[in-house]
Symmetry: C2
Subunit: 546 residues, 2 copies
Amino acid sequence: MQTHPYNVGLDKNDANFVALSPLSFLERTARVYPQRLALVHGGLRQTWAQTFERCRRLASALSKRGIGLGDTVAAMLPNTPPMYEAHFGVPVTGAVLNTLNTRLDPEAIAFQLDHGGAKVLLTDREFSSTIARALALMTGPKPLVIDVLDADFEGGKSLGELDYEAFLAEGDPVYAWTLPADEWQAISLNYTSGTTGNPKGVVTHHRGAYLNAVSNVVTWTLPLHPVYLWTLPMFHCNGWCFPWTMALQAGVSVCLRRVDPQLIFPLIREQKVTHMCGAPIVYGMLVNAPAALREGISHTVQGLIAGAAPPAAIIEGCERIGIDITHVYGLTEVYGPAAVCAKQEEWAPLPIEQRAALNARQGVAYPLQQDVTVLNPETLQPVPADGETMGEIFFRGNIVMKGYLKNPEASAEAFRGGWFHTGDLAVLHPDGYVKIKDRSKDIIISGGENISSVEVEEVLYRHPAVALAAVVAVPDAKWGEVPCAVVELRDGVSATPEEIIEFCRGHMARYKVPKQIVFGVLPKTSTGKIQKFQLRQQFKSASAIG
Amino acid sequence: MQTHPYNVGLDKNDANFVALSPLSFLERTARVYPQRLALVHGGLRQTWAQTFERCRRLASALSKRGIGLGDTVAAMLPNTPPMYEAHFGVPVTGAVLNTLNTRLDPEAIAFQLDHGGAKVLLTDREFSSTIARALALMTGPKPLVIDVLDADFEGGKSLGELDYEAFLAEGDPVYAWTLPADEWQAISLNYTSGTTGNPKGVVTHHRGAYLNAVSNVVTWTLPLHPVYLWTLPMFHCNGWCFPWTMALQAGVSVCLRRVDPQLIFPLIREQKVTHMCGAPIVYGMLVNAPAALREGISHTVQGLIAGAAPPAAIIEGCERIGIDITHVYGLTEVYGPAAVCAKQEEWAPLPIEQRAALNARQGVAYPLQQDVTVLNPETLQPVPADGETMGEIFFRGNIVMKGYLKNPEASAEAFRGGWFHTGDLAVLHPDGYVKIKDRSKDIIISGGENISSVEVEEVLYRHPAVALAAVVAVPDAKWGEVPCAVVELRDGVSATPEEIIEFCRGHMARYKVPKQIVFGVLPKTSTGKIQKFQLRQQFKSASAIG
């Protein structure tokens, strides 16, 4: 290193350097706002002082059981206070929190517990039958199982040797709240839902979790003391880092065991919810819920939407019922959303159709993420910002995972060329906004022409009878592949496949029109993402039979 | 290091690690909001695209002249666009920006230019006479002088070989915007008025500047696109990092050459200013200005206040004229404010006197600063949070300087025990809020400027009639504090207070000149140390009598 006066005798020391960690937010908020509300769950009201104490007890109890640096603690929990507490009490011991998708089958859970090497498992009794089978299927050492007995859930069985409250009682309420020595230390392990067979374990770090938690505030202009409704599962990318964001802004976390408009609207009304997150399907439920459920709600709710581009009907419907939508984009590998379709002032007066089209784009990098852009996936050179040339979306910056656990090949491939490869195909618009055209595997190549399934779906969504739509490639002897669609109709509305095909012909090039329309229920992931791979399987079987 | 699966094959790479630097904000905002307004100055309107281009030209022109890593570029500039641009165009070259206090005398400027080793000096013609003398007084190599010719200032002389616009014309408008390889790299050099005559050069780094710029947003819930009026000099701790904060939030910087209600109110009205910062004296001016000046302003302006605790009259007056005050606290060593008197909901209904008392406290750490607290300065143990036990204020965290330039002893002392020693004496209230009881004995804060009493005393000692001198702070309704001196004359020599004041005027900046000279015998300890505490009491009594 070149020597100059600015790097002589001006080193890091304990006074001027601390590892960035979102764990610092909880300690500060518990000091500054000890008596403010942190958690609401059914009849439970828990302050920041109480939450901090419970997190310290959890950390202490884990430490006493030998949990520390580099160990894994898994959680099979809905959006309840113990899940919130695990986001602090686990990593402060040096351990890594592995949140499990509660809708997974026992085989997938067993794989994750084995692969991640979980030493402790916190599990809600709602999932006892899945977990019992998963534990039986495990090939490695079994974790210490701690049952969460939630007053708001009846049923299920206890599987472990003690319950969560008894475990907390073992812990020291004034356990030393020590930040990691290194901000690159792992904080969380999240397995990708895996549209292919083998899920990959995404390892994130304290520095990135800190920066994305802060970025949520900056991106959304999140005020102090928001009231945040947990419509987004915390097991999905750690709830997009919002457990930590809420600690930073001393917000109220309104817990929710399941996404149901019958639960959501009363909570919005009673708790005066100001903010929420979710996939388009969540907002779709709210938009399509009976108007009577919304009575007495006069304030606006801010909503982040991700997981799929929000259709115009969702944006319009949300506006109508008082939800102000901001579209964000990301993946588990970038801690949830790390791009935002930043709204421009000049969009405001445009008609809803145009605004929806602009807002449906994936947008630009989060303020604290370095970059998101569209490159040629072979050359890693930028595509022209013409809105037409297809490339792949790449991220770069501090809000990118450490890599995949015990999978150096997948990590190396994901980071090839100094960019994180998302696998999402997109174009770059002249204003620098990224617009997804498709997952690479969702591109349909028909007679040598590329067809974006997203583009066809957007047309389908404009048909008044269509509630949900998915377009996939089906093998075809003549064309190689042809687009086919599965459609969920709106309640009480009817349509024929012919009518919908006719509608498509009026709105797109002939070769892009679905050759077949099937009515049915779309298979979805727990976060509301449509599982296209399953649809392709269905069509394959159908074709084989037909 | 202990090996475990989370630190094997999960290293930093170009995709997942980028140095934290506020320079990234400008690049992003110029991309996302290229046509939005960045700078307003007189009749000038400058967009983010233009500002980014000018900063790249500045960086390129500096690079072409050989400026790079570890070099110093000084700026003697009021709050004008070139000063804003210097906050980006200088550090992106790897150089360090040394902002000079425009109120200083030539001797102090010469010391800083020599000590900091400035290779380039950007200077506004308003200060040409001071700078001409400073350059003549320098003992080291002279910097390349670049004159800023501001259309809004008439007079002054050009001193250098070229002007700022000609210099920018030398630069490349598409200069590569490269972040530092190391976020610990120095970004700025700001000299404090130390307790000794020789000011200390506070060196800050990219990581801290980034985090404090973000912290301003979080602390203040600063929305996107604020309209920020530059009542706070950018030469004070880089304007508390607000040049970078404005780039992060794509705000409008409304420039201001001097703090004058006759200029400020029309700008608030015409530009719809939403945010401003300043010392209590600035707000005092606004509160005491004729009501007619405020006509037509109906919106609330958010104001950060620091430099001294805001008196109740200021808080009350600001409320009356539509300025919502937030009290922050810090020092140059912590990038300006790094503590905030965070408001609690339950304060709102209290009477103004009580609210003012609560808000006059220095408060708690910034959300992204690790800690501020009161410790026993000898033992570094916490004082009881009883609101009575006196200790010293200490900071710790990422928003703390690298250290003092070429001054390892002062750096070591400032960081002794792993805390940054502020020298401010305070108590800790039961709610964890810090409250200053007394400024460190040698510093006088007058109109937001730090005055070293020792420095003034050294000048007094140069007067042939002066035997002993002590300078202390005396409370002042307008300036907060003013320096006053007690002088023991030499035997058999006579002088008048007026003569001594006149002598001081010839040797120091105007604001440092003692407002009152009293002749008398200085109270001393048995070891001959002057007891300033007793002097302050004397002046208090005198004031009370007068």
